[in-house]
């Protein structure tokens, strides 16, 4: 039995399809759902945490059906939304104790001390949250989520708005939890963090999984080197042997090539022949950003206001 099994999970908001026929299974790992804003990440998490009913398909969490056994599902999960909701007029200890009582944890007092210790908040436990930094508040939310020892932990953008040191710390804690056997489902749009800390990533675009695998697998699927070229004006990427066109963001074109350093001059020459003015070229190893660009396809030009996406954003704020 996998911790999370989704089969044909689908969600429509009126006519807008937020999650489109998602089939995925996840087990004792750090799984990251990667994608741009409005791609359906949060909607997926809301369905898995029983806060939203799917329009079609179904999912099992810890062997329980998210629709018919919602209460059982809630017993074995914890959910940390991206809003950072902790009561600022209460102390750290009171905030965690509050959740321990709601979960009906036995020996609540000891358990609260224990999770505060794990999250390195013991010495500040009796201060009001008002005085906590963003990173500490996030760790406190993790402490709240861990107090009843869930099997599956859902984290929606766990590092959003935190500084580099705080992010690193959060991810170290998440890794420790995985080692203890927990399944962790994260959504993020920070590719570098997913690359560094997650066991497996699913890249989601317009509600569909566009690529799935471990970060190194996904990068290996691309060819060896990535070449980015900054050009002026329009240009049609020339077809060349051993070079694949990945996509365009702004005035930057990306290519992948088997042998980057030999390809550079060839590519420069053929691009010049199409009439483009080359401003700069660079060569590097592929990152998840490149995987993302390839999986999601050519990045669209930034388009104007889209009512549908805005509605999703509003819905997510509620």
């Amino acid at each position: 039995m996998h911790a999370i099994e989704m089969s044909n999970l689908t969600k429509f908001y009126d006519t807008l399809c937020a999650v489109d026929d998602l089939t995925l299974s996840i087990n004792n790992e750090i799984f990251a759902l990667l994608g741009p804003n409005g791609s359906g990440k949060t909607t997926t998490v809301l369905m898995l945490t029983t806060l939203l009913h799917p329009t079609g398909g179904n999912a099992m969490v810890c062997g329980n059906d998210i629709i018919s056994q919602a209460e059982e599902v809630r017993k074995c999960i914890s959910y940390v939304p991206q809003d950072m909701a902790v009561d600022i007029k209460l102390t750290g200890r009171e905030n965690v104790r509050f959740f321990a009582d709601l979960y009906g944890v036995p020996d609540a007092k000891d358990r609260v001390d224990e999770v505060l210790e794990v999250m390195e908040l013991t010495d500040r436990a009796d201060d009001l949250i008002k005085t906590y930094s963003g990173g500490m508040r996030r760790r406190l939310e993790l402490a709240q989520a861990l107090v009843h020892e869930p099997n599956v932990l859902f984290l929606d953008e766990p590092t959003i708005g935190l500084d580099v040191a705080a992010r690193k710390k959060i991810w170290e804690h998440i890794r420790d939890l995985r080692k203890k056997g927990m399944t962790i489902f994260v959504t993020t749009h920070y590719m570098d963090e997913a690359d560094q800390f997650c066991d497996r990533v699913g890249i989601i675009s317009r509600g569909r999984i566009a690529a799935l695998g471990s970060p190194s697998e996904l990068k290996a699927r691309l060819m060896k080197d990535v070449i980015t070229v900054r050009v002026d004006g329009e240009c049609a990427p020339p077809p060349l042997d051993g070079v694949a066109y990945v996509g365009r963001t702004g005035d930057e074109l990306s290519f992948t090539a088997e042998n980057g350093s030999e390809t550079l001059p060839v590519l420069a020459g053929s691009l010049a022949r199409t009439g483009a003015t080359i401003r700069a070229m660079s060569l590097r190893e592929p990152t998840l950003d490149d995987v993302f660009l390839q999986a999601v396809g050519q990045q669209e030009e930034p388009h104007g206001f889209e009512d549908g996406k805005f509605r999703i954003m509003l819905r997510r704020r509620k």
Binding site: T50, L102, Y103
Partner: protein
């Protein structure tokens, strides 16, 4: 059960640490009591303060209840509600916890209003009468806080909620029997006032004051509160965001 108490305790702690709100919520009813209760020249009763005090007590409960709905609105806007809904704790305990907190806070505020009324010349009642008064106010508090909390669950943002609560509080108060007896009202107002749940609570407290057991208004209140509470509980059980 434990969930209900835990939710209630959280709100009381936050309220207690908020201090300013503890006093500010009392200003309006106290002003009514003093500036209207003591100053209005009326012919239909010898002690207008005794007449208006039940109205002000219920009004205090009404505004406590309506402002209490904003608590759920903030829980929702700030993301607490999402966390609570994902907990195994029965979802109806979120509602019942709020009702008990809002009603409890309202009863504390009405107690202070009762003291002020006594200080400025209202007639002292017997302990049994006070006890019955609290029972009526509690019933009314359950009704209004269940209603307000459920409305807050459905509205989108705090602006629409405060517009809603402003929209209903004044008309409800003025179309009730708070300020004058039915006999001196114009006929159209008397009809409205007899249908207004605020009047049931006010009439009940008034009857208690004159030494009568207010069976009819209390039965009406119990029935309405039970129906509203039932509807609100099932709404909370089924809620998705």
């Amino acid at each position: 059960m434990k969930g209900i108490l835990t939710y209630m305790k959280r709100d009381f702690l936050k309220w207690y640490r908020g201090r300013v709100a503890v006093v500010s919520a009392l200003i309006m009813p106290a002003a009514w009591l003093i500036f209207v209760g003591l100053a209005l020249p009326v012919q239909f009763t010898g002690n207008y303060l005794d007449f208006i005090t039940p109205g002000i007590l219920v009004m205090t409960m009404l505004s406590a209840g309506l402002s209490g709905g904003a608590l759920l609105m903030f829980d929702k806007i700030l993301g607490f509600l999402n966390k609570f809904l994902a907990l195994p704790t029965p979802r109806s305990s979120i509602l019942v916890g709020k009702i008990l907190f809002i009603t409890g806070r309202g009863l504390i505020q009405t107690t202070i209003i009762l003291f002020i009324a006594l200080l400025i010349g209202a007639t002292l009642m017997s302990p049994v009468q006070y006890l019955l008064t609290y029972v009526v106010l509690f019933l009314f508090g359950v009704l209004i806080s269940a209603f307000a909390t459920t409305i807050a669950l459905y509205l989108d943002d705090h602006d629409s909620y405060s517009a809603f609560s402003t929209m209903i509080s004044m008309p409800l108060f003025f179309t009730s029997s708070a300020l004058m007896p039915y006999e001196v009202m114009p006929a159209w107002l008397a009809t409205l006032a007899r249908l207004n749940p605020l009047s049931f609570a006010i009439d009940a407290v008034r009857e208690i004051g004159s030494g009568v057991i207010p069976s009819l208004p209390v039965i009406l209140l119990v029935v309405i509160s039970a129906v509203i509470l039932g509807i609100c509980m099932s709404v909370f059980r089924r809620v998705t965001i």
